[in-house]
């Protein structure tokens, strides 16, 4: 390949350009969860799909995007109180820990983002995003509290019933899709607060993929 042919790098899987600002686990769940491993993707250096992808000028852009997600998540969870109390070096440690695959470094800081006051039963709102391959809309994100007004803990099922009822109650009764987080299907009875604490991505969001039930 000639040098002049190389412009900006991008990836594609089965015709879909892969968004770099989505976690790779989410992309895999959403697009390829039924495919055989290892995941084969195509690397492009030409014809950047301007309308599908954001440009990624540098590593700093990824860091900036990551930090903005973390901040957004904390705004939902703690009115940004936790993230704002952190120092610059703590923010840096979060990113460096992620970048260098140093879970201990990352978690030393992220732990604080996962705490909530003892008198509450959870976060203020759960930072989540629901992705569906079947719709044009990139994702669903709404305000959703982990504890209902009557004190009951909200579950994953409660969330889906409220924010995308089509998933839960299809016309003919039988569910035709899978609810995936991190490559697994948690039961719909799982409390959302627990999921948010334990199955959030490093950006502190719970990325939930709704994908069609594989046909055997």
């Amino acid at each position: 390949m000639r040098q002049e042919d190389i412009s900006e790098i991008w990836f594609e899987y089965e015709g879909t350009p892969l968004k770099w600002h989505y976690p790779i686990g989410l992309l895999f769940d959403l697009l390829a969860s039924s495919s055989a491993l290892p995941w084969n993707i195509i690397v492009h250096f030409k014809s950047f799909p301007e309308k599908d992808l954001l440009h990624c000028p540098s590593k700093d852009a990824i860091e900036a995007h990551f930090m903005s997600c973390v901040k957004e998540a904390d705004a939902l969870k703690h009115k940004s109180q936790v993230i704002n109390e952190m120092q610059k070096k703590d923010h840096k440690q979060l990113w460096m820990g992620l970048q260098n695959d140093r879970f201990d470094q990352f978690w030393a800081i992220n732990r604080k983002l996962m705490e909530y006051p003892a008198e509450e039963n959870g976060f203020r709102y759960i930072p989540f995003r629901i992705y569906q391959t079947t719709t044009e809309r990139p994702f669903i994100q709404k305000l959703f509290r982990p504890v209902a007004a009557d004190g009951q803990l909200q579950t994953l099922g409660d969330l889906l019933r409220e924010v995308c009822p089509s998933v839960m109650a299809p016309e003919d009764g039988e569910r035709k899709n899978q609810v995936m987080i991190h490559g697994i299907e948690p039961m719909l009875e799982t409390p959302l607060q627990w999921l948010s604490e334990h199955l959030s991505y490093p950006d502190n969001f719970l990325h939930i993929s709704i994908i069609p039930q594989p046909t055997d």
């Binding site: 290892p38 260098n100 030393a108 039963n121 504890v147 697994i184 039961m187």
Partner: protein, 1166 residues
Amino acid sequence: MPASVLWAVDLFGRVYTLSTAGQYWELCKDTQLEFKRVSAATQCCWGIACDNQVYLYMCASDVSIRCREEAYENQRWNPMGGFCEKLLPSDRWPWSDVSGLQHRPLDGVALPSPYWEWESDWYVDENFGGEPTEKGGWTYAIDFPATYTRDKRWNSCVRRRKWIRYRRYKSRDAWAKIPSKDDLKDLPDPFNDLSVGGWEITEEPVGRLSVWAVSLQGKVWYREDVSHSNPEGSSWSLVDTPGEAVQISCGPHDLLWVTLWEGQALVREGINRNNPKGSSWSIVEPPGSENGIMHVSAGVSVVWAVTKDRKVWFRRGVNSHNPCGTSWIEMVGEMTMVNVGLNDQVWGIGSEERAVYFRQGVTPSELSGKTWKAIVAGRESDRSHSGSSSSLLSAGCFFGDEVKGGSESAPSDTDAAAEVERPRPEWSAPEEPLDNSRDPKDSAALGPETGGTAECASENLCPDAGAREAAQASVGSARPLPASAAAELPWTSIDLKEPRKIPSHSAAGFAETTSHSSLGLLPLGLDEPYGADDHPLWAWVSGGGCAVEAGSMLKWFTVQSGLSPSVQTLSLSISPAQTATWRKQIFQQLTERTKRELENFRHYEQAVEQSVWVKTGTLQWWCDWKPHKWVDVRVALEQFTGHDGARDSILFVYYIVHEEKKYFHVFLNEVTVLVPVLNEAKHSFALYTPERTRQRWPVRLAATTEQDMNDWLALLSLSCCESRKIHGRPSPQAVWSVTCKGDIFVSEPSPDLEAQDHLLPCDQMFWRQMGGHLRVVEANSRGVVWGIGYDHTAWVYTGGYGGGCVQGLASSTSNIYTQSDVKSVCIYENQRWNPVTGYTSRGLPTDRYMWSDASGLQECTKASTKPPSLQWTWVSDWYVDFSVPGGTDQEGWQYASDFPASYHGYKTMKDFVRRRCWARKCKLVTNGPWLEVAPIALGDVSIIPESPENPEGDGRGHNIALWAVSDKGDVLCRLGVSELNPVGSSWLHIGTDQPFASVSIGACYQVWAVARDGSAFYRGSVSPSQPAGDCWYHIPSPPKQRLMQVSVGQTSVYALDENGNLWYRGGVTPSYPQGSSWEHVSNNVRRVSVGPLDQVWVIANKVQGTHGLSRGTVCRRTGVQPREPKGQGWDYGIGGGWDHISVRANATRASRNVSQEQKAHGPVSC
């Protein structure tokens, strides 16, 4: 925090309790008695029943209330018959009290009430001031009143001996009528209200309680002599009041408020330690003239009141110095009554719907709280769920069939059965699975994260939860009466005079919400609990025994079903979140996913090669040479990951001296311990290597914030552990130690730590920190570890690791719980006498500071003295400490001829100076792998070391002997302790004739103990089948020394005296386990721990290093061999502030030596 209970009475006079750990009101079993009023303290509850008699309910405790009766037998020598009972006419009675003035024949000593029983018959006390007496306990003197000696001399004309007999209070967990004396003149008219409090006026072990009552005629009565050892008190005495009282409230400390018929409040002034009844009254006017006060309730520094228009008022500015306060503040809400409980928390009963409300947000800084929150906990019959965790959690309300007007009758079958099942209040939750073959606590200890254990636990718990839900559902639908019907009930039903006979099962029913005639018509389900939406009507609430910490979680406010969030539960049992199906399913799927995505691709090369990770920062470093100060340094921690995945790290410290850049470095695999050194000013820590330990000269680093220090400590300790490949919970053989700051350290013993030759020098031991705060920690090699806090609370190790300042990955996520500890900071007020003004705070120019520390060298005023470090917060005001050694006068003063001198508690002609000790309590809240063993506070604990000759074959279930001494000096033996249940089940109280201080059990069940008088005792015949043994053998202390601590290994017995001398018990043989004499081993010892290999480790007072001196140093006795159990010398380990060590778990010795060892030991008394 252990569960404690809130007491309440409903409109029908039934008494309920609600545990802080539970979510259901539990009915007291006894429906024969209805109550009008109850007033609770932690250990007991007083009440006025509908027969207008006063009853006392003592909560069950493993330690019995014992009271010693004494009588003296006096004899005089005469030439004819030697010593005989015939005394001179001028002499005392032949049987008398200690003074000789009162006649006291043995058979004339009667039990004070039917609720007492004799423990044994009279016997002669053969112990005389710590020395055993000969010849039947006689002590001799020239004449009566004189000094008695144990030896009979030529001029001993009289002799006497002491007879003792113990009586025991037997009414536990039952209402016992307070006897009213027949003497009609003193008998008060029926009581109308009653309040207990004042327990903070005197410290333990006195445990005095102020019980105040108001009679129907409006008179105020005080119950005399109510104390721990005399729970019933002796008599009522009248306290004159300027008006007619209707209601009374006594706070935990010195507040006493009374409501007057006319609507004012009376406040008692002058209540103090020497005068618990107070001296005078002052009147407080109600907030408004039209509506007088109807009800008051006093706490430690608050008073709440309700006026006749049901409005709630908060009294501002109330404290010990100003018991009247300054002004009223109106609060939101309408109540019929309010009650202030422990920690000044407040409960009330709403005037409309008669629900119990809890005041939210009451903290020491905001005593008025924020909002009222209704307690919606349902009522549940204890019978229906006798196996469920919720009913077990609220302890203390299982009534016996005691109230029978004094006459005894045999309990019925059902009651007897219930009695057997009755859970012990101090440890309820983990007992639940005992009837199951598997104990979920064990699985919790193994880590509930693993799918397999979660499965087994859920099998235990789920059916029960399901059954309860089903039961609730059925009740909810079948409930015959709407709540509104109940609300229309006549209020007079509280004053029902005749005790109704209700079938015992109706306790569980709700029939009485209608009229009594319909009682038989309702279908009463024996096993149906109350529906969650059933709305009880309350008449009275008392929080005097209910400890709610500010900001703690309570389950009272939501009706919870089945699953609870992943909130930490305060019990060892697995929380529902950990057992839920969804959780298991997630773990199972993650395991499968990992297999699917990783397993088959192991041969793929790592995409990113990583080797070095650097963390940098700025710290301060103590420059130990000139200029001897903290200097700012840059630090960098470099971590390398080798090809094998092993990590190693180097800490670089860059500093500038004389404008010259320099650095030094430390290999973290050489670091032996990292010790946090917190004080008022600095967040610092010390770092030791073997070399630095020998020098007694650690690297000291400080951070600007606590958070910063914790981050560095966590990172450094993680790096140390990684380089030594230490992870997870300490092994059962671990050596535990505690510093004077209460920090807990644990070291993994290598096999050559106790080797015969080439033994590992103990300065090379690596110590890592465990979360928590303890004063004492004791372990045995089966993984049972107990600790005692500075506040004497007992703690059991949960199997977790980390916590405290050890956060992040070095900490386990489960089995870490909140732990708190309380200690006192003491300062001294010093005064000098001068002929003009007497004692004043004006000293001589050469004198010490008039406010100082104990040594007098440091000035310490009340205002300037701060808690020991920023982790501690004050939880009390300054108070005079009367329990200082040497005794005090009534105001707490100790006298001496001059400063620094020996102080005594009374003034003589020669005393020119005096001092008194002021103490202030401070509290620390941290977390760690510890759970409280409530409710008995301990002074010492010892767990049987496993003999090395008795290897693993014993099975995990067998009982492990554990002995303890309570803070009051009672000797206790813990039953049911095993590997699977390290907390055990209950205490067995071992009677002693005097308070004890220390206890130790050896590998062959040799129990040795030290009494507070400094003498030693050996307990005979202790064995697995007879865990309590049979009797004590008194063993005199070494001459002129008072023993303080004892430790027994496999065969060796060591004791420590007050002057730091270590003694070995010589002549101990299997047939004569008491031994023959004390042999001096060493001085300079502060604490001793003898292990199962008879290894001897101590905390030495002072050890000199090449660069410094360390106080409180871990040392091992070298050269200890079977033929030479006393050893030869010392090997010096980590030091500088160590207070306690336990090597009693370490039975590992390099294997080649074990067989040798066994042969050499020969016959051992096992």
